[in-house]
């Protein structure tokens, strides 16, 4: 099985979760209030009050077979709005 880690702006969270649901994933987990730095500059949680939000970190454990569908739904969002997505091998405990 695989573990997919996505990190991107909280503002895009709804769209990303919809794409994950649409791909048919069995579940996901979301950590908000993530700060960071990437090609588009730094994101801090100091502006959270402004509605700008920090980043979200989404974890999806899924079958290998789901990856292409996930990629298809998520790639356009990440390309346009920024953010990273990585895949790691993972086995149930």
């Amino acid at each position: 099985m695989k573990r997919v880690d996505l990190i991107f702006s909280e503002r895009e969270l709804d769209g990303v979760l919809k794409a994950i649901d649409a791909a048919g994933a069995a579940g996901y987990s979301v950590i908000k209030h993530v700060s960071g730095r990437g090609p588009h500059g730094a994101v801090s949680d100091g502006l959270e009050f402004s509605g700008l939000g920090a980043n979200a970190h989404v974890i999806v454990f899924c079958e290998d077979a789901l990856l292409p569908k996930l990629r298809q739904g998520l790639q356009p969002l990440l390309n346009y709005y920024g953010g990273v997505a990585y895949v790691t091998a993972a086995d149930p405990l």
Binding site: G41, A42, D45, G46, L47, E48, S50, L52, A54
Partner: protein, 331 residues
């Protein structure tokens, strides 16, 4: 007298705590107000200012200067981003120019609230309907900004998601800041009309605490604004100059309208402050979603790192002088 007004403003608790926040960053103290505490204060301030505005609006009604003032306010929020865009285009691409323009067309509620506090310490009256102007000036610039992008940006935006106007309009008119402000205003209206017993019971929360909560929040705003200053190097001299001169220009435009409408000095100051302030809440959030091609550190840093401190510290007393001067001119 000018310098005395500036000094009087500088030495009020809200402005002094703003300075303290700035100083914390400059000297490298680890003072911070961790999320989501600033959100508590920002929600509280919007709720309270809306509610109080609604109470007063109920008493004043929509007669007299109310509708002309509100109309002029909305007109300014359509005009300012267009003028700003023309200036910004000299230096930036269409995406960045439109995003920054939208930021300056909209308003900063905290600047408005600080101006109200300033008026109170000056014993200058002002009216509740100005809160309605505040609420109505927040959104239009977002729409103007997006139209400017549509018109001026390269027709094919690589990778662009199709723009869904439904979600754009929701972002413009139903974002949490506008929604809470308008909602609280309407509730204030209703309570004043039908449930006056509720007014006194809300007062210790929404009224008495207000000044202290503003002061506490400005401590955080000082920290946040100062953290932005570093990013301004990236922004360059043009944008820095723009962030001071454009508000001054908008203040002048606003002052002419104040004179045209013959507003009271208190309402006049608030009107000018609305014109001169820039949004670092609703607009950046909307622009980040709808114009991701623009660089957020440009529009956020300009509005929050320069224009906001400038208005809080020098702008408000300067605009007061401007309004007093122009109103004493023959009508």
């Amino acid at each position: 007298m000018e310098s005395s007004l500036i000094l009087q403003n500088l030495l009020t608790p809200p402005v002094l705590f703003f300075f303290l926040g700035v100083a914390a960053v400059l000297v490298g103290s680890d003072l911070e107000i961790p999320a989501p505490l600033p959100k508590l204060f920002s929600l509280y301030l919007l709720l309270s200012i809306g509610f109080k505005g609604g109470l007063e609006l109920q008493h004043s009604g929509l007669g007299g200067q109310v509708l002309p003032t509100i109309g002029a306010a909305v007109a300014m929020s359509l005009l300012v981003p267009i003028v700003s865009f023309l200036v910004l285009q000299l230096q930036f691409d269409a995406f960045n120019a439109a995003a920054i323009a939208a930021t300056y067309g909209s308003i900063s509620a905290v600047t408005f609230i600080t101006a109200e506090s300033f008026l109170e310490t000056q014993n200058q009256p002002f009216d509740g309907f100005m809160v309605a102007a505040l609420a109505l000036m927040e959104s239009p610039a977002i729409i103007v900004g997006l139209i400017l992008v549509k018109l001026a940006a390269p027709q094919n935006r690589p990778g662009a998601q199709p723009m869904r106007w439904g979600s754009v309009l929701r972002e413009a008119f139903l974002n949490s800041s506008v929604f809470l402000l308008v909602g609280s205003l309407v509730i204030g209206l209703l309570v004043a009309a039908y449930s006056p017993a509720g007014i006194g019971k809300m007062e210790p929360f929404s009224d008495k605490l207000f000044y202290g909560a503003l002061t506490f929040f400005l401590l955080d705003m000082g920290i946040v604004a100062a953290q932005r200053i570093r990013e301004l190097r990236e922004a360059g001299a043009f944008l820095i100059a723009f962030s001071v001169l454009m508000p001054l220009f908008n203040a002048l435009l606003g002052a002419l309208i104040v004179w045209g409408l013959q507003l009271s000095p208190g309402n006049g100051l608030l009107f000018v402050v609305l014109c001169a302030s820039a949004s670092y809440i609703a607009v950046p959030a909307a622009m980040r979603m709808t114009v991701p091609e623009a660089n957020p550190s440009l529009y956020i840093s300009a509005a929050l790192g320069i224009t906001f401190p400038f208005n809080i510290i020098l702008g408000i007393p300067l605009y007061m002088l401007l309004v007093n001067t122009i109103l004493s001119a023959p009508g």
